[in-house]
């Protein structure tokens, strides 16, 4: 499949692009997930990190995530305009040319990788480069339009930011960092398949082989339940590892129980029931999945904060 870099007549351009369009092409929501998970990994990882280096590293990771979002919008402009969820994006609406999206993505990719390698360390720069490559080439270009396992395999791209954050702080990657990776990796399928359950028509129109399109919704519901089960041992494992603490363990027990209960509710439903209440349970599960990841990572950082306060106050150590 070949793609032209020049702006196509399919997407009428209204130059010059507004700054808000340039921001939108960087996918701020995806950026926020990368910022949050990598920042938490920096906090919980061993090793001392100067706040200025931490701030600079988070910024360059965010720019790298934004760059991969721009390259994703460059490649997917043709299918983005077919889907309700994505047709308001800058490229399909003609507010930004495909060529602009491509060059924004390429330049920011190189810039973020070099700057992260210089300000933090080579390993984190290499990991960021690999993340961008994986998201753009492996997921967007190779997997997305070919296999219903697209978001399972491609989900690794979204799971890599904690590894980068860990590498920034510790200078290496340990088993705990891989467990954080695994948590996001296994969380991605239930999260995106819940979205696919109530956006299946969108994916069908764009001919994207999401599981709901290729195998139907009942199979998707079952797979959501399976992946939710698989999340539990990983979450508990993190709680028992060196980065876990009482807050994380407590929240992991409560969250996993609620998440599993909701996944079961999604599994038990039929499409007729879902149509009647406009996919209320599926939408709730999708929102819960966002909260799940936010709380899991948030409590890890809070446990680290508590540990520092405890050690400083009771043992006089810093």
């Amino acid at each position: 499949m070949t793609k032209e870099l020049t702006p196509s007549t399919e997407f009428p351009i209204s130059h010059p692009a507004d700054i808000s369009d340039i921001m939108a092409v960087l996918k701020p929501r995806v950026m926020s997930l990368a910022i949050f998970t990598s920042a938490v990994a920096m906090v919980v990882a061993p090793g001392e990190l100067h706040p200025i280096i931490a701030l600079a590293s988070i910024l360059f990771i965010a720019i790298g995530a934004g760059a991969s979002g721009a390259l994703n919008m460059w490649w997917d402009a043709d299918i983005d305009r077919l889907m309700r969820r994505t047709r308001g994006r800058p490229v399909p609406t003609g507010r930004l040319s495909r060529q602009d999206a491509f060059f924004i993505g390429i330049w920011l990719s190189g810039f973020s990788v070099v700057m992260l390698a210089l300000s933090a360390n080579i390993l984190s720069g290499v990991l960021l480069a690999f993340t961008i490559f994986y998201y753009v080439v492996v997921y967007t270009i190779i997997l997305k339009r070919r296999t219903p396992q697209n978001i399972v395999i491609g989900g690794a791209a979204g799971a890599l930011p904690p590894l980068i954050g860990w590498a920034v702080s510790a200078g290496s990657v340990s088993i705990e960092a891989w467990m954080l990776f695994l948590l996001i990796f296994l969380w991605t399928p239930p999260h995106f398949w819940a979205l696919a359950l109530f956006s299946s028509d969108d994916y069908r129109r764009a001919q994207i082989p999401m599981l709901t399109v290729t195998h139907g919704r009942p199979t998707t519901r079952r797979q959501i339940l399976i992946y939710t089960f698989l999340l539990i041992p990983v979450s508990v494992g993190i709680g028992l590892s060196s980065i876990g603490g009482p807050l994380f363990i407590f929240s992991a027990i409560v969250l996993n129980a609620i998440f599993l209960f909701q996944a079961w509710a999604v599994y038990r439903r039929t499409d007729d029931q879902s149509e009647k209440d406009r996919w209320a349970v599926e939408r709730r599960f999708f929102r819960l999945s966002i909260l799940y990841l936010f709380v899991q990572f948030g409590t890890l950082a809070m446990d680290k904060g508590l540990e520092l306060i405890f050690v400083t106050n009771f043992f006089g150590l810093s």
Partner: protein, 59 residues
């Protein structure tokens, strides 16, 4: 088609943002450089003289 005023306003807004971003980048690189050079501790200002921390105090 966009009006020329609108185009001018957009260009102005973009240029202003680019200016602020570049300023922020310069400040950030400077701050990172200082941290990297000092390793988190303060710089010793002993140009053209021997730094006391380098002297062998036993001899």
């Amino acid at each position: 088609m966009m009006k020329s005023d609108e185009i001018k306003n957009r260009r102005l807004r973009r240029n202003a943002v680019v200016g602020w971003v570049l300023t922020g980048f310069v400040v950030l690189v400077f701050a990172v450089t200082v941290v990297k050079l000092t390793g988190g501790s303060s710089l010793e200002g002993f140009d053209h003289t021997v730094r006391p921390s380098l002297l062998d105090t036993d001899s």
